[in-house]
């Protein structure tokens, strides 16, 4: 079958997709976007987390056919996505917790049509930079999924408590870090966002 959808703000078309192919497979093997990782392909580890119309999902559990006409953001598009949010909602986040990214907003959003990979600016989103600075990256295999989930948390909740962070990231396994530095990174990104307002 053929699937049409938008990835990181760019229209994509995948042909000859098998019935059972996952969104993760299509992104990695057909779109050339290997940033979303394949650690379990059972919805248990969160390494493959992407945003589908703004909502974080395990892309390994989404059948490719389900994304027809929809909007996907992967780690490769995270920097542009965060930049766009910053432009639309300066200061980021939303105290009421009701902000998020609406379906409508997600559909209107367009990443710079670069190569669909990292965005041409090459700048990092605040959460990406914080992961590097806090030492939250070791092998890094869990990192893309965690970044997508953490970025979505910070969009909903500009100053999350530790319990909020734990709750939001509980679907993402990391085997290397012991999570402490991942908590540090999310706190750091939140603090920097606050400072920037």
């Amino acid at each position: 079958m053929r699937v049409n959808f938008t990835v990181n703000g760019r229209k994509q078309e995948a042909d000859d997709v098998w019935e059972g192919e996952s969104l993760l497979y299509v992104l990695r093997e057909r779109m050339g976007l290997p940033g979303s990782k394949n650690a379990c392909e059972q919805g248990e580890c969160g390494s493959c987390t992407v945003r589908l119309d703004g909502v974080p999902v395990c892309s390994c559990l989404v059948a490719a056919g389900q994304v027809e006409g929809r909007e996907v953001v992967t780690v490769e598009g995270l920097a542009d996505y965060a930049q766009h949010r910053q432009d639309a909602h300066p200061g980021g986040g939303c105290a009421s917790g009701a902000c998020g990214t609406s379906l409508d907003a997600a559909q209107r959003w367009q990443a710079k049509p670069a190569d669909g990979r990292t965005g041409e600016a090459g700048a990092l989103s605040p959460i990406q930079q914080a992961f590097i600075d806090a030492g939250a990256v070791q092998c890094g295999f869990c990192t893309p999924g965690l970044l997508v989930a953490a970025d979505e948390l910070l969009e909903r909740n500009a100053s999350p408590s530790d319990q909020d962070i734990r709750e939001a990231l509980s679907g993402n396994l990391c085997r290397c870090t012991g999570y402490e530095k991942i908590l540090d990174a999310v706190r750091l990104a939140a603090a920097r966002q606050e400072e920037a307002v």
Binding site: P34, K37, C45, L124, G135, Q163, L173, C174, R175, T177
Partner: protein
């Protein structure tokens, strides 16, 4: 993947920034946060095929026949290989004993053993084709424990063994045996006022690295093959791969691709040979990526163990003697079992002074999944048992468990049970003191004044199983000792090639080693060492491959010591060569060239008094210096096979933990509230990474304390839980805050005084959590992991 150090501005004569001791950031960090870092499962080649392994569905059986006809006939299938297609007479491989078949021949010895291979144009086609292969198994009885393995009439897992351990083992189903006898334990026992005995069980843990086993093999024009793969030791793989392919080593060119964690699980071969065989057969690039299910069969696990201990102590709290027997289940193939036995026995006493010991460690051959290297390597199982014993003794003597340990703690100068003196700092009592002195976390953090409890902080968490009723707190302590590097006379060397030249007017160093970066941060540290030794800011880390000499394994906490040592040593020689050029060019202008101690700092040649003699760039101009040198730490020797005596270890590392837990006694749920660590690292080359390693190791120890276990059916030897749904590893909700207290007591024998750090925190974490749960519940708990049924007394079997 080439990675480059971050350039910084340097002022004349200043220290070079980003050297050792600083928390410089990972050179691969940006690639990893943008999704651009190429892990082994991300490799892609035009026109590539996908490989698939067919694995045995039974644990022990004769293979009567294999029918591949339907699989071969499927459209999109390019090759189906079985044992008969192996190209040479060499059909087995192995780390020490070559007992592991590339593809099963005649027999399968464990559930999940590879039997056939398929290459197809889509991974789903390959999977379906593999499912069409028909195998006729005649099942054999399974060996699953010590009793069934060592019975006089036991079926032999490997008939006709001819490895060098067979001469000293009491039964052919025992891979290796190491006794250690020192003093007279029976005689010393007479001095004991109290004696405690214990029988402990350690479950089978999995490394559960997140990046699945994967790689890409590309056939080359000279009939050889290029392999891009995630591994811990390129040259060890190469030695095992080339003979079974029937190729000389030069024709197998290996490059490390991005590694998503390892923890010992990538020391053995997984898909390497299979991908090469398929690529050579089809003439096309072949990629293999295991899914999580297959990954649980694709690598060796941590040895499950039974440990029988006896300790005695006088009433004033001095240990008199120790006797133990440690039975490790190595599973169907030897892997690293012999070395694990050496570690378990030589470290079985723990960081304590006991002059009279009687120790025996063995590893079994069985039809359980093969076990080998995992973080902590034999020392983990022993630490679990001896620390439980320490608590029992302290309780029996009415002493404080920490004071009891401190009273018996080893220190610099202590003689190990192997007769080897500990000749560098061993701050065991001090680590315990620090852990104990730390303020405890507040009680009942889930209680919120006047409101409903914050269930997220309670055992059971969001599943809202309790609001605090029946929740009790406990505190527990543990400390452990781990050796660093490969022991028992192993030639544990590393190689580094360092080049220095001027690029764009700036001196630049390139460091090329075959070290596997598996996430530990070696690439960061190598750049730091080169900056420190060569005074340059810009350091490029060359991709790791087999075009340079071996770096040894990224395991045994050895890489910063040994390959770091090799980089340091080579840099020192490069520095000498650069200074020699300087002397030749400028020696006649300034006497300091001949008389002073010269350094390279901040891009300059400076005297030890700080006087600048020249820019490195002027010295080198368009010359370059390049050296490739091997480096070795001081040698070790084998343990005597009867007495266990010998200077077998290079260095030791020490960590202590304090665990605070809350237990819901009704439901048997445990919440670890805090897990504090104190560890001596000798010298922290990169403090940020050091803390990260210690927290990561601690969390793996926590995992095996309360949830992680591969469950093997004792009747069929089949694995019951090969998935992340059923094999649980700690999530961020299961992991508490992990405060880390780092000591730096230099080891004068090691480069910069450093101590290997990666493994020690995995040892004491588990017994500390167990001790805390015992403290909270009053239960004996002699197995790990602890599951709810052990806490509620509702265990069924």
């Amino acid at each position: 993947m080439a990675t480059t150090g971050t350039p910084t501005n340097i002022t004349q004569g200043s220290k070079t920034k980003g050297g050792i001791g600083e928390s410089t950031l990972r050179p691969d960090g940006t690639l990893k946060v943008t999704g651009e870092f190429a892990y082994s499962s991300d490799m892609w080649h035009e026109d590539m095929l996908w490989g698939q392994t067919l694995r045995s569905t039974v644990a022990h059986a004769e293979i009567r026949s294999i029918d591949i006809s339907e699989a071969v006939a499927m459209p999109g299938v390019y090759a189906v290989l079985t044992y008969d297609d192996l190209p040479t007479e060499v059909k087995n491989y192995g780390l020490e004993i070559q007992d592991t078949p590339v593809l099963a021949h005649g027999k399968v010895r464990h559930h999940g053993e590879p039997v056939a291979l398929v290459a197809a144009d889509h991974p789903e086609t390959a999977r379906r084709a593999a499912a069409k292969i028909k195998i006729d198994y005649a099942e054999l009885p399974v060996i699953t424990d010590e009793a069934s393995a060592t019975a006089p009439d036991a079926v032999l897992v490997h008939e006709g063994r001819d490895d060098h351990h067979i001469g000293h083992v009491p039964h052919p189903n025992i891979v290796h045996r190491q006794p250690i006898v020192r003093g007279d334990a029976d005689e010393a026992a007479k001095r004991a006022d109290v004696i405690v005995k214990g029988e402990y069980t350690f479950g089978m843990q999995d490394q559960a690295f997140l990046g699945p086993e994967s790689g890409l093999a590309v056939p080359s024009e000279d009939g050889g093959v290029e392999l891009y793969v995630a591994t811990q030791w390129l040259h060890s793989d190469l030695k095992q791969i080339a003979p079974v392919l029937g190729l000389p080593e030069e024709k197998v060119r290996m490059t490390l691709s991005g590694v998503g964690g390892a923890f010992g699980g990538r020391e053995d071969i997984s898909m390497q040979i299979h991908a090469c065989l398929l690529a050579l057969r089809t003439g096309k690039p072949v990629k293999i990526v295991y899914n999580r299910f297959e990954s649980f069969f694709g690598h060796v696990h941590r040895h499950p163990a039974k440990l029988y201990y006896e300790h005695g102590a006088t009433k004033d709290g001095k240990l008199t003697h120790m006797k133990c027997k440690i039975v490790l289940d190595g599973g169907a193939y030897a892997s690293a079992s012999p070395a694990v036995v050496g570690n378990a026995s030589s470290l079985s006493v723990g960081p304590y002074v006991i002059d009279d010991v009687d120790i025996e460690a063995i590893a079994l051959y069985s039809n359980n999944p093969p076990c080998g290297a995992m973080r902590g390597f034999g020392a983990v199982q022993a630490c679990f048992a001896y620390e439980a014993q320490m608590d029992k003794l302290a309780a029996k003597l009415g002493m404080d468990p920490v004071e009891f340990r401190q009273l018996n703690a080893m220190e610099q100068g202590t003689i190990m049970p192997t007769g080897q003196p500990v000749d560098s700092p061993a701050p065991v009592a001090e680590l315990l003191r620090r852990i104990k002195a730390r303020p405890l976390p507040p009680e009942q953090q889930w209680a919120t004044a006047g409101e409903a409890a914050d269930v997220r902080a309670l055992p059971g968490g969001l599943s809202n199983t309790t609001h605090g009723e029946g929740v009790v707190r406990g505190v527990g302590y543990a400390v452990g000792i781990k050796n660093v590097g490969f022991s028992e006379g192993f030639d544990d060397y590393s190689t580094a090639k360092v080049r220095m030249e001027v690029v764009g007017g700036e001196p630049v160093a390139t460091v090329h080693t075959a070290m596997a970066e598996v996430g530990q941060g070696g690439v960061t540290v190598h750049a730091q060492i080169a900056r420190t030794e060569l005074g340059v800011t810009q350091v490029t880390i060359h991709p790791a491959d087999t075009q340079v000499g071996s770096a040894g394994s990224t395991s045994a906490s050895r890489q910063t010591y040994v390959t770091g040592g090799a980089v340091k040593n080579t840099c020192e020689h490069v520095r000498e060569a650069v200074l020699e050029i300087g002397r030749r060019k400028f020696g006649s202008y300034h006497p300091a060239w001949a008389t002073a101690e010269l350094l390279l700092e901040g891009g300059k040649v400076v005297t030890d008094g700080g006087e600048v003699l020249a820019d490195i760039a002027e010295v080198l101009e368009d010359e370059s210096v390049e050296l490739e040198l091997e480096w070795r730490h001081r040698p070790t020797e084998a343990f005597d096979l009867r007495t266990g005596q010998g200077n077998g270890h290079v260095q030791y590392s020490f960590a202590a933990h304090r665990a605070v837990v809350e237990v819901d006694t009704e439901l048997g749920l445990v919440k670890v509230v805090e897990l504090a660590v104190a560890q001596d690292v000798g010298k922290a080359l990169n403090p940020l990474s050091v803390v990260g390693q210690i927290q990561g190791g601690t969390t793996q120890g926590l995992g095996v304390a309360v949830m992680e276990e591969i469950i093997v059916d004792p009747k069929t030897a089949k694995v019951r839980n090969p998935s992340f749904t059923d094999y649980l590893i700690p999530t961020i909700l299961d992991t508490p805050t992990i405060p880390v207290d780092v000591l730096e007591l230099a080891d004068e024998h090691a480069p910069y005084g450093l101590r290997g750090i990666g493994e020690a925190p995995t040892l004491s974490s588990t017994p500390a959590v167990l001790a805390a749960i015992r403290n909270a519940t009053g239960l004996e708990l002699n197995r790990t992991p602890v599951r709810p049924e052990h806490l509620t007394g509702t265990e069924s079997s």
